[in-house]
Amino acid sequence: MMQPLRSAPHQSPTRHPLPRRTFLRGACAAVVAPYLEALTPGGPATPVRAAWLYFPNGVAEGSWAPRADRRGKIRQLNETMAPLERHRQRLVIPERIFTPRGNGHGAGTATWLTGGEWDHRALDARGPSVDQLIGQRFAAEHVVPSLSISAKGEGFFAADVSRNTISWSAPGRPVFRETDPRAVFEQLFGGGPEADTSLLDDLKDQIRALEKRVSTADRRLLSAYLDAIRSIERRIAFVQDEATARRLEAAAELGLPFALDRPIEAVPEDHGDYLDLLLDLVALALWSGASRCASVMLDHGQSNRYCTFIPEVKGTWHALSHWKDTSGKTEDDDGVTSWSSRRSKRQMYDRVVTWHHERVARLLDRMAALPEAEGSLLDHSMVVYGSSISDGHEHGERDLPTLVAGGAGGAIRGGRLLSARESTSLDRLHLATLRAVGVGEEEFGAADEPLELG
């Protein structure tokens, strides 16, 4: 049967659907955070949001361990973690974390959030990953339920699936990771050319007609197409919502450098500025209600980035992580850089890691400064920060550097080292995160008992 296109001559495809600036001008000047309304007695509780920050290449042995008393109270963080010291009271450091089913630069990265096993032929790390599970559960409430961001990769492996994927929407379906801050902003708040909604309706009709005809295998492709269309529709609706403009304006007043009418630098030249901008977007996404959770890869799983932008550091991150070899002539090295001693190479490796801790500490500052019902965004969030490798030189698989920050709405009691006699599956932390955000899974990966964080 013929299905005529719905015509919409009044709405040319290139035109912005709404004159947003008028909104901004007319918006209420008061600070309106989406979850401030939750203050109303008997109203819905402020939802707990989650974020995962992945970094590659591990940390040198011993540089994650804090000074703690016998009951696990952290007295002082490890000196390489000094930038995070000011957030000590909000941190939990679990000991002896490991991923039982996948390790290293490739498999460890791909399975960091899935608790699965990496099948390099099928390109499958199992899944959905923990962030996607949460996003799928709350899909109806957010424009980008689970935000996925990565720092733009450099060098070998920059296009490799396993080293560039921590989020899987389903087994064998890696989630696209945005690297361009401007595109992240547009994902959340629109901007750039907007889709023609009448055309989207027509495309959905075409796909539904096709779905009846194709094989089961091909239906998966079509459902991905349909999901993609729906995500664009969700954004259009979110952008057209007056409250969105007000939230953005409020965020700008609180120091987040974004506004609908101000262009964002695509990829800032300075790597620190770049990562800070991406992490600011994470704070904005969670605080504005655009996203329920966010995952960030601070670099790809075997980052060969030259870290010369950090004072007194030379060589690439991955080469530095093999800190016990200073010859400068292993297969990891570039043949030009060499180090005078293990000690100095390890110091540089530490500096790279510490530099990333600074970025994370700055994100936590931001989150603590964004007010919400009875506290801040950080109070209502759970931030998991870690790597899929312990000591980079040994490609260590046990005692993965892992920490949890934030209050998770009271579910987390900070300032503690969680001592463990035995290796603890990272899946138990994922299960705890799922419980904290209100996804009542019974089990995740290999875990049926959540890590005790309260």
């Binding site: 013929m2 299905q3 005529p4 296109l5 015509s7 001559p9 009044h10 040319s12 495809p13 290139t14 490739g106 390099h120 032929r121 390109l123 920059a158 296009a159 490799d160 699936v161 396993s162 560039n164 890696p174 696209f176 945005e178 595109a183 994902q187 750039g192 050319p193 889709a195 055309l199 027509d202 495309l203 075409q206 796909i207 096709l210 005809r213 194709v214 094989s215 295998a217 091909d218 492709l221 079509l222 991905a224 197409y225 993609a228 269309i229 995500s231 664009i232 954004r235 093999h322 070899d325 010859s327 002539k329 292993t330 297969e331 570039d334 043949g335 030009v336 030189h393 040994e394 490609h395």
Partner: protein, 622 residues
């Protein structure tokens, strides 16, 4: 059991010798009689079951290799690739691992022979049972294919690479693999942008109404959807255009909206030319329009032309002779360079040059972007020559003609006859793949050459026998070895490294191959001294084979002793690229057949046999 100091690999030849037994029935098998083989196979099975099961058992088996699940008589062949990995481990003595007491690993001689006989039997069984068409789920166009399709349909050039994110690719795979062509909101949004830019470019100033007047909906839809449009589709887009005109749009505006709608359709962006109504389970022939697109996306990385669509409309394309003739015609077309760039560039890794492999422009002013593009193109044009002109297998490693731009000729230090890219006789050193700068650079680190990378590249990309990944911590060299290297050169370093049995089992195979190319630096320039400043000794050997020297010696040794592996690996990569999926155990039969075609009749026959092969022309629904 002692770790073998100098392992040889006689059994690999046993595997190869076994293959023709299956395929050319009638030729008398040499060696032990069938009954004896059966006994040995049964013994091998029990060796593996008894020894390996200690660690490789059940759902938590080491490396996910559950012996009991894999040895079951009816299932063994279906796990061909796992068995091959196991075979490589057993061959090199890496498995079983040394005992805790420190006693050496590996199987003793008799057990090893039996285990390898079993693995050999698995190979034969897989080839005997295999050959099915395989499933090939629909996929979307790649970023490059979308760019070519927009170009071919609208006659415009759009820098799609600047508008869309790069495709993620699995290690050792191709961007045409449907498994990595993910669809998500951002892809959709940016594909929209690319389409919009292309549609805008199709209306050059001054010719606007003219374009609209000359437009004909039916042919455009046929080109975009790569099949005849349905009546409903004609009406749908006709109605859209009419409603825009009625709403006051100019002819140009209405046409732009129509083009955008057509190029937004899943029928354009997804490869859905061959979607039958609810396919029944089982194997069927790909429809003629499905074949037209399979051919054109393989050889032109874009949509079919009118002639192919006409042949599909009449059904003639289903005839094998027509398919082969069309493939030859398409290879002669300029668009075939897209195929060569994409396939050869990804297979050989040369596409990385100037991208992932990017030397510091300040330290290396000679390595300009244009030179690196010419280096990549030299390999693509060289490969295109092989398939276009039906050259024999040997030409891959010995072909004495090449394609040089003036800049690349200067880089090689040879005369250029003038003009742009010229086909010239290659100097001896530049013959075949081993003399190509892009190959030598792609197998180097950005700042130095690496015999290890080059050797591993030969074993993996050319011979299909990738060395297993190094064990944890294996990248460590002790510093003493390097001090020694400073004194005695790169070769000494790696020799010292190989004195460790754990390293030797693989590096004895890898390093000697790479050293044969040590007369080239990291950019493929000729050199006499290595990165340590020592005189290059470009001698090498295949495992267990005689010593040879330089790229010519390497080519000769491979063409003499590894012809079968080389031709099969070329066939394997080509099949994987064309089908847009990973290969399964049952595809190995096709690989063996196509490899035999390449070996006997060259690259032209390889292409025509491939496009008429069962997996290319048929499809399975499961």
């Amino acid at each position: 059991m002692v770790h073998p100091g100098k392992p040889t690999f006689p059994h690999r030849r046993v595997w190869i010798a076994a293959v023709p037994l299956v395929l050319s029935a009638g030729s008398a098998p040499e060696g032990p009689r069938v009954g004896m083989i059966d006994d040995l196979v049964a013994e091998g099975r029990s060796v593996i079951e008894l020894v390996c099961v200690e660690c490789h058992d059940g759902s938590d088996a080491e490396a996910g290799f559950d012996v009991a699940r894999l040895t079951g008589s009816s299932r063994a062949a279906e796990h061909l690739f796992e068995w091959r990995r196991a075979g490589a481990m057993i061959e090199t003595g890496a498995m079983p691992p040394p005992l805790r007491s420190g006693r050496g690993g590996g199987l003793d001689k008799d057990d090893r022979a039996a285990a390898l006989a079993f693995l050999n039997a698995v190979e034969r069984e897989a080839l005997a049972k295999g050959g099915a068409a395989g499933t090939e789920p629909a996929r979307r166009m790649t970023r490059d294919e979308l760019a070519h399709a927009l170009r071919d349909l609208l006659n415009v050039t759009v820098d799609v690479a600047a508008l869309m994110p790069p495709e993620l690719v699995a290690e050792n795979s191709f961007d045409t693999n449907g498994g990595t062509l993910f669809i998500h909101g951002e892809w959709l949004k940016r594909a929209d942008v690319a389409v919009r830019v292309a549609v805008d470019a199709a209306f050059p100033d001054g010719a606007r109404e003219g374009v609209a007047a000359g437009f004909s909906l039916g042919p455009f839809l046929r080109g975009a959807f790569r099949r005849p449009p349905s009546q409903e589709e004609l009406e749908r887009y006709g109605a859209l255009r009419a409603s825009r005109l009625k709403g006051g749009a100019t002819a140009e505006q209405a046409l732009r909206a129509t083009l955008f709608a057509i190029l937004s359709s899943p029928h354009f962006r997804l490869r859905l030319e061959d979607v039958p109504l609810r396919p029944a389970k089982g194997e069927r022939a790909v429809s003629p329009h499905g074949l037209a697109s399979r051919l054109s996306f393989l050889l032109w990385a874009g949509p079919p032309d009118d002639r192919l669509l006409d042949l599909a409309d009449s059904g003639k394309l289903a005839e094998p002779e027509v398919l082969a003739t069309e493939a030859a015609r398409m290879l002669d077309d300029a668009r075939a360079l897209r195929f060569a760039r994409s396939f050869a560039g990804q297979w050989l890794g040369t596409r990385r040059v100037g991208r992932e492999f990017k030397p510091d422009p300040i330290d290396n002013p000679a390595m300009t972007d244009s030179l690196m593009a010419d280096m990549r193109d030299e390999v693509a044009r060289f490969f295109l020559m092989l398939v276009r002109e039906g050259r024999p297998l040997d030409a891959l490693l010995r072909g004495d003609e090449t394609f040089l731009s003036p800049e690349l000729a200067r880089f090689y230090g040879v005369e250029h006859p003038g003009g742009d890219v010229a086909r010239v006789e290659a100097p001896a050193l530049r013959r075949g793949l081993f003399g190509k700068a892009a190959v030598l650079a792609a197998t180097s680190y950005p700042d130095r050459s690496s015999p290890v990378l080059r050797g591993a590249w030969i074993l993996d990309d050319l011979l299909g026998t990738p060395p297993p990944p190094p064990p944890p911590g294996a990248s460590t060299f002790d510093e003493e070895a390097f001090e020694e290297g400073e004194e005695r050169g790169a070769r000494a370093v790696l020799e010292r490294h190989r004195a460790s049995p754990a390293c030797a089992s693989c590096h004895d195979r890898i390093d000697p191959l790479g050293f044969a190319l040590d007369g080239f630096d990291r950019f493929g320039r000729e050199r006499s001294h290595d990165d340590f400043g020592h005189r290059v000794e470009a001698t090498g050997a295949l495992p267990g084979g005689p010593e040879f020297s330089g790229p010519e010696g390497l080519a000769g040794a491979i063409l003499k002793d590894r012809r079968v592996e080389l031709s099969r690996e070329v066939a394997r990569r080509l099949l994987r690229f064309s089908l847009g999926r990973s290969l399964e155990w049952s595809d190995e039969r096709t690989v063996v057949e196509l490899g035999a075609v390449l070996e006997a009749r060259g690259f032209g026959a390889l292409i025509s046999s491939m496009v008429t092969s069962r997996p290319f022309t048929r499809i399975e629904s499961r």
